[in-house]
Symmetry: C2
Subunit: 420 residues, 2 copies
C-alpha cells in the first residue's frame, strides 16, 4: 500500500470526498501534510444538481469529477477507492472493506448522510431517494418508463395511474424534483407522445408539515407553492405517508395509485457514529465541538452532514453543501496549522451565502437572511452561482450550454432509459 | 393501443430503431403512411462513437437520442417501447413481450446484430462486448476499477496483471478501443496516480488473423499497426483466443494474466431470422433480394446488420452504419412509392462514403476505394464527419466541445465508476 513509502509518519485519514472531505484534503495537501483520502466512489458529486440528472436535464458526468483529479496538485494526498468498515480508536487505525488497515495520526470523518425512511425501509424499492448517480439514473429511467407504459396502455385508469408521479417531502429537493418533473412531462407530452395527454399527467408533492420549504421564510415558501401549482403540481400539506407499494401511496388515509414515487422526506447521517462508538442524535449525527473535534477524542474530527453543531445563537447548522464546504475549508486550514505549529484554532463560524431552492423556469427563491429574493432574478442568480460552483471548467461550460439549450428549446437532453 | 384509432388500416411495422429502421420510419412518415416503430430501447444509439463512452471520453446521452424525438415531425409514425417475441406470417402480426399483438400490412426487420463468442458464451461475463450503453458503462467502470485496484495493490505481479488490458479482435472496434485505452491510461497514470507507473500498464490487441483491419487495404492496416505500437499497444497476430476467465486469457497456448478483457472479435445477427422462420447464413443473417425483400415473403423486408446482400460485383455488403443508413433511406422511399402507387423499385445500390477507423490522436485511416488517406488529415476529417453525422444539434455541439477539450487538455471528461 502506498503509505508504506514512509511507514514512520502516520497520515491524516479523511473518510469521504464530498464537499467537506475534499476541502479538508486540499487544505492539508496545500500545507504538504500526508493525507489518505478514502471514498467508496471514484468521483466527487455536485449533489445540488443531482435532481437535474434525475429529470434528464444533465448527464451524470456533468456533475461528477474524479477525486484523483481534484487533488492531483497535492502530492502528499493519496486517494483510496475503498470503504471503511471499522475504526480502532486505541490502535488509531481504520480497517477497509478490501482487507487492509490504515493507521492514522488524525481521523477526519466526512461521510455525509443518506435517506431515512423513518423505520419503513420496506418502502425503499418503491420510492427511491436521491443521493447517488445510481439513484438519479434509477429515477430517470422509471420516470421515462412510466410515460412509455402509459402511452401503450389501452386502459384510462391505468394510464392515469402511470402518469401520476408522487414526490414525498416538501423540502428543497422535493420542490426541485416536483417542479422539474412537471416541466419535463409538459414538454415531452406535448411533443413526443401521440396517445397520452398532458392533462392526464399529474405531479403530487406530499408534505407532512403545514407548509413546504420550512427552512425558508413563509413569504418565499408561499411564493414557491404558488409557482408549483402554476406548473401543475398538486401540493398536499399535512399529508403524512402511511404506506408505499409498487403501485400506490397511502397518505392521510387515502390510497393514491401512482406510476412512481420518489422519496425526498428525510435524511440520516451515515453509520460512522456507530463505527466510532460515540453518541449520536436522532438523525445519527455526531455532535462536535466548535473546532469540529469529536468530544473526548482529541484527534478525531467530524464535519458536514454527519456532524451536528450549533451556531453562536444556539441554532443547529443546516445540512447544506455550503456548511460542509465552509467546514472543510476551515478544518483544512486550522488542522494544518495545529499539526505544524500546535496552535489552537478559533471556533468555526458559518457565513450564510444564501439558502436557495429552484421551482422551475424563471422561478427560484433565495434567502440571505438580511435579504430575500424570488422570481426571475433569483432564478438567473441561482443558475449563475451553480455554474460558478461547479468544480472543473469543462463541467461549467457543458452545464451552461445544456441549460441554455434547454431554456431555448424546452428540451431535456438526457432522456435515456438505460437501467434494466 | 394506439392503432385502435383506425383499426381498419394495418400499419407498416418496423422493428428496430437503429440506423436502418429509423430511416425507414422517417421515409414512410414523410409520405404520411401509418407506421409502428418498435424498439426495446427508448433511444437511437450512434454506435460508431460508443467506444468513446467506454473509454470515458463522452457521456451516454451525447450519443443517444430519444426515438420519439427523432420521428416527432411525422404524425403517422408511432413509437412502441417493447420487444417482439413472435411473428405470425399467416395472420400478418407480431406479438410483443408486454402481451399485445400488432397486425401489419408490411413488416420491416432492422434489429441489427449482437456479439458472438463463437460458441463460448461462458466468456461473456469476463469479456464484455460493445453494443449498448450498458456495455459501454460496464467496460468504462471495469477499466477504471482495474486502475484503482492496481494503485492499492502492494504486489507487483498483481499490479501488472490489473494494468494489462486485453482487446480481442483487430477490426475497427478493437483498434479504436485499444488505441483509446492506451491514450486514457497514459494520461491518467501520468497525472492522477501516485504508485502505479505508465510503464507497468499495457494494452494487448489479440487478432486471430494475419493482420488487423482486414476490411482495409494492407497499406492502411500496417499504418494503423505502427501507430498502435507507438501508443504502446502490443498487437499479437495469428493469436487465437482459447479461453477467457476472470483473471486471464489463454491465447496461442499461453496464459496471460489480465485486469480486464474486451470482446471485439465477432458479431452475429439478432434472432429475428429464427422468429421469422427463414433460412439464415452462418452469422444468422437473412439473405435478401436487391429490393431488400425477404425471398418468398412479399411483404417482409430486412435490412442493415440483420440482412445480407451482395453488391453488383458479387461482394457481400459490410456490416457498417452507412450501409444500414443508405438501405433505410432507400426502403423508406421505395416502400412509400410501392404502397401508394404500386411501382416496383430499382435495386438497392450502395454508395461507399468511405470506410474509416481511428487509432488515436492525429491518426486515422480512411478508405474511399478510389482514394486512401491516413494520418492527421484523416483524423481531422473523421472528427468533422462524425460531428456532422450526430443526429441532434445539441449532441453535435456537446461532442465537439468535449473533443476540443480533450484535445487541448489530454483529459477524458467522463471518468465515472458508477456500476456496482
Amino acid at each position: 500500500m502506498a503509505q508504506s513509502a514512509n511507514p514512520a509518519a502516520k497520515p491524516v485519514v479523511v473518510i469521504g470526498a464530498g464537499f467537506a472531505g475534499i476541502e479538508v484534503a486540499r487544505g492539508l495537501g496545500k500545507a504538504g501534510i500526508a493525507v489518505i483520502l478514502i471514498d467508496r466512489r471514484n468521483h466527487h458529486l455536485f449533489q445540488p444538481l443531482l435532481y437535474q440528472v434525475a429529470t434528464a436535464a444533465l448527464s451524470p458526468a456533468d456533475i461528477a469529477e474524479p477525486i484523483r483529479k481534484m487533488v492531483r496538485d497535492y502530492p502528499s494526498v493519496e486517494v483510496l477507492l475503498d470503504e471503511v468498515t471499522g475504526i480502532d480508536k486505541a490502535a488509531q487505525s481504520v480497517s477497509l472493506a478490501s482487507g487492509g488497515t490504515i493507521p492514522y495520526s488524525v481521523l477526519v470523518i466526512a461521510t455525509g448522510a443518506t435517506h431515512s425512511y423513518f423505520g419503513h425501509d420496506e418502502w425503499a424499492p418503491f420510492a427511491p431517494g436521491l443521493k447517488t448517480i445510481e439513484d438519479a439514473r434509477k429515477i430517470r429511467s422509471r420516470l421515462l418508463l412510466a410515460f412509455e407504459r402509459a402511452e401503450m396502455s389501452p386502459d384510462p385508469a391505468e394510464r392515469k395511474r402511470l402518469l401520476t408521479i408522487a414526490v414525498v417531502g416538501g423540502g428543497p429537493t422535493g420542490v426541485e424534483l416536483a417542479g422539474s418533473i412537471a416541466e419535463l412531462s409538459r414538454s415531452m407530452l406535448a411533443k413526443d407522445f401521440r396517445t397520452i395527454r398532458h392533462e392526464t399527467a399529474s405531479v403530487l408533492l406530499l408534505e407532512a408539515g403545514t407548509r413546504i420549504l420550512t427552512a425558508f421564510p413563509p413569504a418565499l415558501a408561499s411564493y414557491a407553492m404558488g409557482k408549483l401549482q402554476k406548473l401543475g403540481v398538486t401540493v398536499r400539506l399535512k399529508t403524512e405517508v402511511e404506506n408505499i407499494t409498487a403501485h400506490s401511496i397511502v397518505a392521510a388515509g387515502e390510497e393514491i395509485p401512482v406510476g412512481m414515487a420518489i422519496w425526498a422526506a428525510g435524511v440520516k447521517a451515515s453509520n460512522m457514529g456507530k463505527l466510532l462508538g460515540v453518541e449520536t442524535d436522532r438523525a445519527e449525527r455526531i455532535a462536535v465541538a466548535p473546532d469540529l473535534c469529536v468530544p473526548n477524542l482529541s484527534n478525531v474530527y467530524a464535519l458536514g452532514d454527519i456532524s451536528s453543531l450549533r451556531d453562536e445563537r444556539g441554532a443547529l447548522l443546516p445540512g447544506l453543501a455550503q456548511v460542509a464546504k465552509q467546514q472543510g475549508e476551515y478544518l483544512g486550514r486550522t488542522l494544518a496549522k495545529k499539526i505544524q505549529s500546535g496552535t489552537s484554532p478559533p471556533p468555526f463560524r458559518f457565513h450564510n451565502r444564501g439558502n436557495t431552492a429552484i421551482v422551475g423556469r424563471h422561478a427560484a427563491v433565495f434567502d440571505f437572511g438580511w435579504w430575500q429574493i424570488r422570481g426571475w432574478f433569483a432564478w438567473a442568480f441561482w443558475a449563475l452561482i451553480h455554474v460558478y460552483l461547479l468544480v472543473g471548467f469543462q463541467h461549467r461550460l457543458m452545464v451552461a450550454i445544456q441549460w441554455l439549450w434547454k431554456y431555448v428549446t424546452y428540451e431535456q437532453g438526457s432522456r435515456l432509459i438505460a437501467e434494466q
